[in-house]
């Protein structure tokens, strides 16, 4: 309710300011008989921005300091013996009063002092609410008056609006960047804590993964060699890419160059459905169908293939990634100008020569990008490997044996009771950081390749 009223107030201010800026600019132009530098819409928009910013600042300020002020007010209303409580006891006393005031019930009997405090809180809330709204509206109106005085025919409202738009866009992209930095910083922080328990050299170059259990933890730390996990991750991702890359590429080539419109219209959505299947479903599929089938096949030809293994997980992950590669590559191939294809065909090249020698090279940067994105996905993929890779963090070369990956291990280390105090759970952050650095490295590499290729041909 309160939020709705505030939103309505802001909207009203916005509309008013826009209208004022718009009509005022025309009025001054007519009065002075000069041409406006910017069209009235820009004056309107600029006035709206100028009015909105102070009002929003006031509201933002209240959001920041309001809760503390409310709490202090409640404390001042409590009898001294209650107010002298500490920690959880105090918090729950405050929470009871807030619950009473907001009308949701509380357990147990309501003490008289509680009822009184709740009533006082009601009044405080109403008052502060009115003050805030008044302040927001007041600053808004004040700003509007000031803005009206600024409006003269030569005011470069258009340029200022362009600047505002630029800042707004910048702020939006800053959100993504800041979030990334925040995540990395927290990963880094916790990883550092982990490295106070375990020597980084043992972590990055250890070949044995045997963290032991947090509950047994007296001082026994266990062994945290990441190499078996990295090896498992790389093996599964490599098998997945071996499956997905050729099939995805061929599919894309068929769809973009050979398929008739009708075939395309049917096949493409079906392939894209593959991409929409939740990965946990692929996990079942691997566990229940592909694993046993592979192991049966292995028996038939006399090779021992375990039903949960790097092979099973890699194969199914490859199937999952096919649409990713085929869809991206298809789009990229279709972006190659038709005139290039015509030029090649016109010289008597066959369609396949044209694809190999002209279209694929022209599309290569995009294809490499798609490939590396797909690799990032394969490395970060979790559900399929949790279910189908066998969860056996042992350094093994044979893909037919169970393995474990970085992602699976993170899941294992974080499930169960974890208090983020011992290395058993903190290792998850070190693993996460490693994964992040790997995918980051891949992306940087992809950019580098794409750039180099572009320089060569553009």
């Amino acid at each position: 309710m309160t939020n709705l009223i505030i939103a309505a107030l802001l909207l009203f201010l916005l509309g008013l300011a826009y209208q004022q800026g718009w009509s005022r600019s025309q009025a001054v132009a007519t009065a002075t008989g000069t041409r406006l530098h910017s069209r009235p819409v820009y004056h309107g928009a600029l006035a709206a921005v100028w009015v909105l910013v102070p009002a929003v600042l006031v509201l933002g300020l209240w959001t920041a300091i309001g809760p503390d002020m409310t709490r202090n007010f409640i404390l001042s209303q409590l009898p001294p013996d209650i107010a002298a409580l500490e920690g959880n006891a105090l918090n729950s006393a405050v929470a009871r009063i807030m619950a009473l005031s907001s009308g949701s019930g509380v357990a147990g009997t309501v003490e008289p002092y509680e009822a009184a405090a709740a009533q006082a809180l009601d009044q405080f809330r109403l008052l502060s609410y009115l003050v805030v709204i008044g302040a927001a509206a007041g600053t808004g109106v004040l700003a509007l008056l000031l803005v009206r005085r600024r409006i003269v025919p030569r005011l470069r409202a258009r340029n200022e609006i362009e600047m505002v738009v630029r800042l707004a866009l910048l702020a939006c992209s800053a959100i993504a960047v800041l979030t990334t930095f925040g995540i990395v910083a927290s990963l880094f922080n916790e990883a550092i804590r982990f490295f106070t328990f375990v020597n980084p050299l043992d972590f990055f170059f250890g070949t044995v993964w045997n963290p032991g259990f947090a509950t047994t933890g007296t001082g026994a730390v266990g062994q945290y060699g990441i190499l078996p996990l990295l090896w498992g991750t790389v093996m599964v991702a490599a098998i997945a890419m071996l499956v997905a890359l050729p099939i995805g590429l061929m599919t894309a080539i068929y769809l973009s160059q050979y398929a008739s419109r009708r075939v395309r219209d049917v096949v493409k959505p079906i392939i894209e459905i593959l991409a929409g299947i939740p990965t946990i479903v692929y996990g079942f599929f691997a566990l229940v169908t592909v694993g046993p089938a592979l192991s049966g096949f292995g028996q038939a030809i006399g090779i021992d293939i375990r039903s949960t293994s790097a092979l099973t997980a890699g194969l199914v992950m490859g199937i999952m990634i096919i649409p990713f590669i085929s869809s991206l590559t298809d789009d990229i191939l279709r972006q190659v100008p038709i005139s290039l294809r015509d030029g090649s065909l016109g010289l008597g090249a066959t369609p396949s020569e044209t694809i190999r020698r002209v279209l694929l090279p022209a599309a290569l940067p995009g294809i490499v990008g798609a490939f590396l994105l797909a690799v990032s996905r394969a490395i970060g993929e979790t559900m399929i490997v949790v279910l189908a890779a066998g969860n056996s963090p042992v350094l093994r070369a044979n893909p037919a044996e169970p393995i474990s990956t970085v992602t699976v291990t993170i899941v294992n280390q974080l499930t169960g009771d974890s208090d983020f105090a011992g290395p058993q759970s903190l290792v998850a952050f070190a693993l996460g950081l490693t994964l992040f650095v790997m995918t980051l490295g891949l992306n940087v590499f992809a950019l580098y390749i794409v750039r180099r290729f572009r320089e060569q041909y553009e």
């Binding site: 419109r261 290039l340 015509d342 065909l345 010289l347 008597g348 090249a349 553009e458």
Partner: protein
Amino acid sequence: MDMMAGKFAANVTPLEEGMSLSDHPIRLEARDVCVHYGAKQALYDVSIDIPDRAVTAFIGPSGCGKSTFLRCINRMNDTIEGARVTGRIALDGEDVYDRSLDVVELRARVGMVFQKPNPFPKSIFENVAYGPKIHGMVRNKAEAEEVVVSSLKRAGLFEEVKDRLHEPGTGLSGGQQQRLCIARAIATRPEVLLMDEPCSALDPIATAIIEELIDELRENFTIVIVTHSMQQAARVSQKTAFFHLGKLIEEGDTANIFTNPAKKQTQDYIMGRIG
């Protein structure tokens, strides 16, 4: 009419001494060719004979179907979704739309320079060597180099690019790209060469070089050229066909068309009154 004769007569390239167009065997024969793009008809019943070892010019206002007809000859319209060609086009008496005909081989024999320069995103060298390589016409680097250099020279581009043969062809200027595409087309030694406005972006000197090239190619090959320049049509061609709104209005000896057109429309176009 006299005025027209004066304007163009001096420019018309005469055929070889004592020869008339009728002495040239017919290389390409089109009968009742209609083209539809989806529901829209772009060409109406075009019938024309194109003589061997001569230059035939297609003229006509923009959008009248010159490129469309040209693309029918080497079946480049096959690649356009929704394009439909009916009628008969025969190369040396063989229907090019026949099921048994291999379209890849057809396009190797009938080369094309497209209206819009379309160099591959490869080096200048690779652009020109592309055709000879895929057709196995060159066996090693030295042979490829020979073909590339001679083709570039004939297209009048070599001097400008000889120091940067291994830089991308897409980095050339518009007119240079156009000549690169011409060099690329002649490198495969097609028997018939279709040129769609090959000089549209060229200065007079480069144009003169290309026209010389066309004259030289004419000795051995069949050439069809689309042009918007009446002077150019008069200078390089022996036969001219005038298209208007998808129809072939008039065709005949270039000298005749330019000095004594049978149709009023042709005359108006040549004199610059329509189009």
